[in-house]
Amino acid sequence: MVSEKKSEKIPVWDLPDIPKGELPPHIQLQRTRVSCTFDAPTHTENVLYSGAYAAMGVDNSLRLPEFRNNFKVEVVSLSEDDMEFDMIGIDASIANAFRRILIAELPTMAIEKVFIANNTSVVQDEVLAHRLGLVPLKVDPRHFNYMSEKDEPNEKNTIVFKLHARCEKGGPRIKVKSNELKWLPNGSEFKLSTEKSNPDSTSKPKTYTSFGCSQDSMPEFANNPIASKHGDIILAKLGPKQEIELEAHAVKGMGKTHAKWSPVATAWYRMLPEIVLLEEIVDEKAEELVKKCPVNVFDIEDIGKGRKRATVANPRSCTLCRECIRGDDWEKLVAVRRVKDHFIFTIESTGALPPEVLFTEAVKILEDKCERVISELS
């Protein structure tokens, strides 16, 4: 069908002026929001190129003073191990860098070597060693150095734990829990098998570690003994007459080598959901909308004379299930969007460091990376 009505010709000089330095609203919307339409999210990309809006007189280049004015952090909740905060006014690439560093590049201490003197339990040596490796340790990794292959284990790079559990004959079966890992501040107690036992020598026999001093004499550990973060992790179960005797050596490492060194249970972010009612939704429609949402994003307010109007009460809890825009013409009434530069960041620490410290350390690591590149280039 061809429309009968002819569009009137408007001379170009009669067109309304587009304000310079400002994007038209629809482009601004595409730039700052992801629209979650029923079939797929659209405008998910970030427009980065500095000259992307040059034709409209808008400079898209990075200006640090502007970033400084717009960047905001709001802490939502903070406990010993968990933290949630809003990071506003930053690009996804930087937020993602922080997340990646938190997961893979922040060091912690974890058990790496296990010397098993006796294991008659049903748990095989290698399985037990793997389980020990995954036990989170409550110790600040910044007090320790990395141990390279040629390094001797000493008090600055190794923590030694001892585990000796035995189930007596005739007794009930017992559970070996992580609180039985006893810290040995003086290092290993196992003698090296190559050492000849010489009863005349007064020097200490050589062990698997060579500690120069006791770790509990160091000021950082004097009143803060090193132990497993959780005492109730079951390592093995022992039947009568079964026994485990071992020594576990923890070293510093990074999550990209093995997940046991990751300081976070996980760290993630999501973009802030934004729900806009494009038209006023009243009465039955409003009731229907409230019922459609499984996480109670919408609420109803009275507008007098027994009439009701739908409102967006709790957009943060939206999971983007898009139930609210399903069916009929709901997509024309409700718009589900995400704010591209507003990140709800969550950090769950495993206990080595509090979450707020983890984040500042992560930012520091990104800084160090930049510094390395600068020094390599100059």
């Binding site: 980065l48 190129y49 500095s50 000259g51 400079d59 898209n60 280049s61 990075l62 640090l64 970033f67 400084r68 960047f71 905001k72 952090v73 709001e74 802490v75 939502v76 909740s77 903070l78 949630e84 905060f85 930053i90 690009d91 690439s93 930087i94 993602n96 860098a97 990646r100 560093i101 590049e105 996480v295 709790n314 943060r316 809890s317 707020e356 984040f359 500042t360 930012v363 520091k364 990104l366 800084e367 990376k369 930049c370 510094e371 590149v373 600068i374 390599e376 280039l377 100059s378």
Partner: protein, 105 residues
């Protein structure tokens, strides 16, 4: 390591060892917003090699200097993030806590 030419310093590929998307994507973001840059992109030639290639082409300035500037920008950005974050945490800790705080969804 820089792969470029002596005649034309405005375009070069930089190979960074022991780096991955974490740094490369952040640097790419910063460089893309630099008006001197005509093209920037990065690639990881093989997933089991720990290195990235970053390609920088500029309108005339030496690519090396532009990349260096972008790293400096990124450092300033990080510093500002740390400061803002520390302030927000200090402010949160000093805030009096109501008995039942139910903010998180």
């Amino acid at each position: 390591m820089e792969h470029g030419s002596y005649q034309d310093q405005s375009q070069a590929t930089f190979t960074l060892t022991d780096e991955d998307h974490t740094l490369a994507n952040s640097v790419r973001y910063i460089l893309n917003q630099d008006p001197r840059v005509t093209f920037v992109g990065y690639s990881i030639p093989h997933p089991s090699d720990a290195r990235v290639n970053i390609r920088v082409q500029t309108t005339g300035d030496p690519a090396r200097e532009v990349l260096k500037d972008s790293c400096e920008d990124l450092m300033f950005l990080c510093k500002h993030v740390t400061n803002t974050f520390d302030q927000a945490v200090a402010e949160f800790k000093s805030r009096p806590k109501p008995e039942s705080m139910n903010i998180s969804p």
